[in-house]
Symmetry: C2
Subunit: 125 residues, 2 copies
Amino acid sequence: MKPTDAELEILHVLWTNGPSTVRQVHDALSQSRDLGYTTALKLMQIMVEKGLLTREEDARSHTYTAAVSEEATQQGLVDRFVETAFRGSASKLVMQVLGQHKASREELDEIKLLLDHLNRPDDPA
Amino acid sequence: MKPTDAELEILHVLWTNGPSTVRQVHDALSQSRDLGYTTALKLMQIMVEKGLLTREEDARSHTYTAAVSEEATQQGLVDRFVETAFRGSASKLVMQVLGQHKASREELDEIKLLLDHLNRPDDPA
DNA sequence: TGTTTACTACGAAATTATTCGTAGATGAAT
DNA sequence: ATTCATCTACGAATAATTTCGTAGTAAACA
């Protein structure tokens, strides 16, 4: 339930491209870094054991699908991260991120909008 | 420059309590989890090698001090986390955090205030 | 049909992180 | 001075992650 870094890379490929073979995942990951084919295979086999992926064995080359959603996974990662890196203070994390202007103005507006809603859950608007 | 989980725990103690001996750090950590004294010692020795801590050897029991600031460390952790978990989208991370109401209303207000400033850097106020 | 190619299975090496035991030294207490 | 408590140093076991090589199998093809 707590994917490692390498596992996250694979999940991202599957979340983005949908169900894929080892070959397809390996091709995608190879564009950004060096990675043996059998390494990708082994990782994906382990991920099936862990329940992170499911596997269709129809054809000769199996097709893998993410068994966990991107949202749920990221939520788990964030929870853990807030605990370990920010001693549980989610707002400190947000402040740290926003203070580093890694988000565009449009993104900031979007966030502000969300905050308005959160601040006034009883607001009719 | 990239502290592990155990190292972060120790850094948090030093950031909070200031320069401390292994004994003091161990006592602090023991309150929340099981940890051998020599484990804490070993970790702190390694952290000195890595440059995460400095050590005063005046007395018999050495005094350790955090050699990295909390802000800089958290910034590094956030950068890395945004990359691995959110493929570089800082705003997605923020949305995920805020959507889970882990922050109090006061904290949300504080964040909103910061956002206002970020949105209008040319604002005289 | 025989050869090449592409795939899976799996063992195991390499790396990193965490853990603790033991040994040795130094200071405190009796 | 001898004993006891406390400290550092350090080797090494354990665990988790990442990596890849080799072997076996089956499809594709010449």
